[in-house]
């Protein structure tokens, strides 16, 4: 630590070696914020959390924690060992993620789920039925159900699983996919849509094959484009999801956004995920191998030549402020872009976390589904003038916002080096464990420096680290 170090904010984290809970400090050093922690047995770790502007000190969205309505586990050892969720958790579930297979048709060098090796038997429909029961009992039906893996499209009975989720009353079903099957099998895409699929979270790491060769081990860009076309044809909302890795695709951020906008409104937005180091990755990361949220916000501004600007992005109302950013943009008929969101005041009053969760669920369900474009087209067809007025009518504005809002967001997942238990305690994205417990996404996937898991593969909470 040097002379620039200012007042630290205390929190808790984990030792990367033994996974024991240890105290940690968020320390401001110049324009950066670091997480510094010391394990009595394994020594100090110093990991970059936030690099540059917008400053973390002004990046706040204070919330009053909201205990989940239903808790499946008791608080015994405390966070992160009792997840289920326990009564110490501070946020409701916004998205529930079901891993319906560990099989995958790729073998990427980087994979948070470490999929594709020694694949276990897929859970049967009766097991998935139990998981859905568990989710519905704990969270109600108005949440995002994300079917993930592994690669969910390797299951031939995926349409049955979607129908099963629908039969439980869930109205928004999304798959998390690399898109290969969707690109090559249009009939399968139609089956998924007919079964009730709403949205596709499409792995989309960049706009040229050099990126895919490095990140995924093969050329895939043409497949991604075909997958998007098939999904749009079947009226599935598409969200592009790039895993951002320094030196591989962080210079392609602007091109990805432009590609997404060119394929709007079928493509509903871009959701960036800076690489985090759990599951399968090449080696223990140095700080230069990390991208922080402000790195991405500034890159968006620079690489879109100011079309999207730093001040258009805001911290989240649902998850912890340090976990994500988002901005919404209206794509106008003349090709221009108008920001609909802004960072707002730094000093807003704390709001109940559950209110933020409710708004977020409503937004995602609206934004990530396919737009009702036919209605828009009909309206446009009726126009007789080729120079639409600069200020639209209320009806046209409302319709345009519904169909042509483009969402740009990012979520910084946490690994064992940068995990902050204040953040995981307020997480709203929960993976359904094999026994039906709900576990915050980062804690479910978290692995120690030597690959030991905390929750993945364990059937019971209160696991002794």
């Amino acid at each position: 630590m040097n002379e620039h170090v200012q007042v630290p904010w205390m929190t808790e984290s984990l030792c990367p070696t033994c996974l024991e809970r240890i105290s940690a400090e968020r320390v401001i050093d110049g324009n950066d914020v670091w997480l510094i922690k010391v394990c009595p047995e394994h020594g100090q770790t110093r990991t970059i959390l936030w690099r540059g502007t917008p400053d973390l000190t002004g990046w706040q969205r204070p919330k009053v924690p909201s205990q989940p309505p239903v808790c499946y586990t008791e608080t015994l050892r405390g966070c992160p060992y009792d997840c289920g969720l326990c009564s110490n958790h501070g946020q409701h579930t916004c998205s529930a993620l079901l891993e319906i297979t560990q099989r995958c048709n790729l073998r990427c060098p980087i994979c948070f789920a470490d999929s594709g090796k020694e694949a276990e038997t897929d859970p049967g429909l009766e097991v998935i039925d139990e998981w859905l029961n568990s989710v519905r009992h704990a969270c109600g039906e108005k949440i995002v159900i994300q079917l993930s893996g592994g690669e969910p499209t390797v299951r031939e009975d995926l349409p049955d699983i979607i129908r099963l989720a629908r039969s439980h009353g869930f109205g928004f079903i999304q798959i998390n996919t690399n898109g290969l099957r969707l690109a090559e099998d249009p009939a399968f895409v139609r089956q998924l849509a007919a079964a009730g699929l709403t949205s596709v979270f499409l792995q989309f790491d960049g706009t040229h094959d050099g990126i895919y060769r490095q990140l995924r081990g093969r050329e895939m860009f043409a497949d991604k484009v075909r997958a998007i076309e098939q999904c749009v044809e079947s009226k599935l909302g598409v969200v592009l999801v790039p895993t951002l890795v320094p030196g591989i695709n962080n210079q392609d951020i602007g091109a990805i956004i432009r590609f997404g906008m060119e394929h709007a409104p079928g493509v509903r937005g871009v959701h960036f995920q800076p690489v985090s180091y759990f599951g399968r990755y090449p080696g223990s990361p140095g700080n230069e191998q990390r991208l922080t949220l402000p790195d991405i916000i500034r890159a968006i501004d620079q690489q879109t030549d100011g079309l999207l600007q730093v001040e258009n992005f805001a911290p989240p109302g649902c998850e912890h402020s340090h976990c994500s950013f988002h901005g919404n943009f209206l794509l106008l008929e003349d090709g221009s872009v108008r920001a609909l969101s802004s960072k707002g005041s730094c000093c807003s009053k704390p709001a109940p976390a559950s209110e933020g969760a409710a708004k977020s669920k409503e937004f995602l369900i609206r934004q990530w589904a396919a737009p009702d474009v036919e209605m828009q087209d009909q309206k446009t067809d009726k126009k007789t003038c080729c120079n639409p007025p600069k200020v639209p009518s209320l009806d046209d504005f409302l319709q345009r916002v519904k169909t042509h809002t483009f969402a740009v967001s990012a979520m910084a997942f946490q690994d064992v080096w940068n995990v902050d238990l204040e953040r995981t305690r307020n997480c709203c994205i929960h993976v359904v464990a094999r026994d039906g417990r709900l576990v915050p996404f980062c804690l479910f996937n978290l692995t120690s420096a030597s690959g030991e898991t905390l929750h993945r593969g364990n059937n019971h909470a209160n696991h002794s680290a």
């Binding site: 805001a314 989240p316 109302g317 649902c318 988002h326 209206l330 108008r338 920001a339 609909l340 969101s341 802004s342 707002g344 933020g356 708004k359 977020s360 409503e362 937004f363 995602l364 609206r366 007025p389 200020v391 639209p392 009518s393 209320l394 009806d395 046209d396 504005f397 409302l398 916002v401 519904k402 809002t405």
Partner: protein
């Protein structure tokens, strides 16, 4: 939201006593700007926003533009 000529003629401005006339009104809310034709007082420029409009489409705009 449309008013017929007949409906507009039923309204007077309470402050000025003038008959309301239809006028294009530009609204700016958060980062959205749009126009609506509304009955307005030609003298003091006050406009009539019915409950139906306020609780209907304008509330819808507010909900959509409100930050998540």
């Amino acid at each position: 939201m449309k008013f017929s000529e007949e409906e507009v003629q039923n309204w007077k401005c309470e402050a000025c006593g003038e008959d309301l006339v239809m006028r294009e009104v530009v609204f700016s809310y958060m980062r959205g700007t749009f126009h609506v034709d509304l009955p307005a007082c030609p003298k003091c420029d006050q406009v009539l926003i019915t409950e139906e409009l306020a609780m209907g489409k304008m509330a819808e705009v507010e909900k959509i533009l409100e930050d998540k």
